[in-house]
């Protein structure tokens, strides 16, 4: 997958219109969603393509980098 550093998404719920475009564009496996039909915000995304941020009609998705993938597999850069 991507060599990007994993990110944790944050959604500005005040602007979110629950349109689902972020989930529609998301290349993650099934289930990377929030209870509000957006991309997941409770666990890191290890793909970090950020397509969800660019498709969002109301520009309300942001992210912060996280140090390590949530899964136990850690790859070491040589």
């Amino acid at each position: 997958m991507s060599k990007q550093q994993p990110v944790l998404f944050s959604i500005g719920w005040n602007a979110c219109i629950n349109c689902g475009a972020c989930v529609a564009i998301c290349p993650q496996e099934a289930g990377f969603v929030s209870p509000f039909d957006t991309i997941a915000v409770d666990r890191p995304c290890d793909i970090a393509c950020l397509l969800c941020e660019s498709i969002c009609p109301v520009d309300t998705i942001t992210h912060v980098p996280v140090e390590q993938p949530a899964v136990s597999v850690v790859t070491v850069d040589r």
């Binding site: 219109i17 349109c19 689902g20 475009a21 290349p27 099934a30 039909d37 969002c56 109301v58 520009d59």
Partner: protein, 391 residues
């Protein structure tokens, strides 16, 4: 195959799922239709336009319960405001019009009421409908059937069925369960935003505004919404602009050739969604599973229209399943590819052709030329002589 709880479990009670359910149950199949929402149609992610023949072909009468406004034609604008009008009240005045003995060309529907109406018709045809029920996954079984895992008001439930129908929209999880390639390219998903407004006059036409200046990669629209309301919206392709759809919609409203017309508008609702301007999914089936509607990307790649294609696809899916299950044919090992062939023959091949036309326009790097091509294509698309008017 031993008995199963249902013949079909349909995930998603939008227009595609409810139409599939209605035709399947009418033909005697045992159908469960589930939706995770508490209220269908909402949040609205769609402009709500559908042709009269699209409704008729899917056995849906134009009931006042769900119709916002009748439509009689189209007006297509270029980026400067020049327009081509196809008003069927003039083009085919003996057939289309508001008077007695005449009919509208199409309708703008209220998606909340339309979706609920279609679900009600399915329920009356014998479908079991469960709201607040989410599909979590499915497993094909060695006996040829499959098990579906559901969550209903937080209660886990497992049911057996012969076929799962994924009608769960553009964000489809059902296709992902089966490992299908459902990922859509960022260049082919338009980020859309629309306002329902008061104070904007309309004339019974669907108005479509082309031009990179207003909607890079997509188009803008003004649709009549009934009761004097209108719908102003647009869709943009993220790779063709560094601004979100909301920025473009504000610009369209305040700076376009419609700025005086929109000056007194007041926003009543804000809606949005992702609209695929893409090809249909190449694979729309798996063991014990088929996809229909937005989940299969049964969406017109030129107009982004998905209602007609959803209900038409629902009927195709139901007719196929009734025959296939009735004949006791296998449901695994690629057997359901026959559904995809039926769909391609009925409407998919035309959609692939439209996708080719659309791709040809947007691969043009010269903005002026691209604008001219899109305007010309849209203008001819809605003309009475268009070869695509039934899509």
């Amino acid at each position: 195959m031993p008995p199963t709880d249902y013949d079909l479990i349909i995930v998603g009670a939008g227009p595609a799922g409810s139409t599939t359910a209605r035709f399947a149950a009418s033909a005697g199949l045992r159908v469960l239709l589930i939706d995770k929402r508490q209220e269908l149609g909402a949040p609205i992610q769609c402009s709500g336009a559908i042709s009269g023949h699209g409704l008729a072909a899917a056995g849906i009468p134009p009931d006042p319960e769900f119709i916002h406004e009748a439509i009689y034609g189209f007006a297509i604008y270029n980026d400067r405001g020049d327009r081509t009008v196809h008003d069927y009240r003039q083009l085919k005045g003996d057939e289309y019009g508001p008077g007695p003995g005449k009919k509208p060309l199409g309708y703008v529907v209220d998606r909340r009421r339309f979706d609920r109406y279609l679900m009600t018709q399915a329920e009356r045809a014998g479908v079991d409908v469960w709201l607040k029920t989410e599909g979590l996954g499915y497993r094909p079984r060695p006996d040829g059937s499959c098990t579906v895992s559901l969550l209903r008001y937080n209660q886990p439930i497992e049911l057996t069925t012969r076929v799962v129908v994924g009608a769960d929209g553009l964000q489809s999880q059902v296709g992902k369960w089966a490992g299908l390639q459902t990922h859509i390219k960022i260049t082919e998903l338009a980020g859309c935003l629309q306002f329902i407004v008061d104070g904007v006059e309309t004339e019974g036409l669907l108005e479509i505004v082309t031009g990179h200046e207003w909607a890079p990669g997509g188009y803008a629209w003004v649709f009549p919404k009934g009761h004097g309301y209108a719908e102003i919206g647009l869709g943009v392709i993220a790779t063709m602009t560094d601004k979100p759809a909301r920025w473009h919609l504000d610009k369209f409203i305040t700076q376009s050739f419609f700025r005086d017309r929109f000056a007194g508008s007041r926003i009543l609702e804000v809606q949005g969604g992702g609209v695929p301007l893409a090809a249909p999914l190449r694979t729309q089936f798996a063991d014990n599973m088929i996809l229909v509607g937005d989940a299969a990307r049964h969406v017109n790649p030129i107009t982004g229209g998905g209602l007609h294609t959803a209900v038409a696809g629902g009927k195709i899916a139901a007719d196929f399943l009734v025959g296939h299950l009735g004949d006791g044919l296998p449901l695994q090992g690629g057997a359901l590819e026959a559904y995809q062939r039926a769909w391609l023959g009925a409407m998919g091949d035309k959609m692939w052709k439209l996708y080719g036309i659309k791709t040809g326009i947007f691969h043009n790097m010269d903005i002026g030329e691209r604008d001219r091509q899109l305007y010309a294509t849209m203008s001819s698309y809605f003309s009475p002589t268009s070869e695509f008017k039934k899509i």
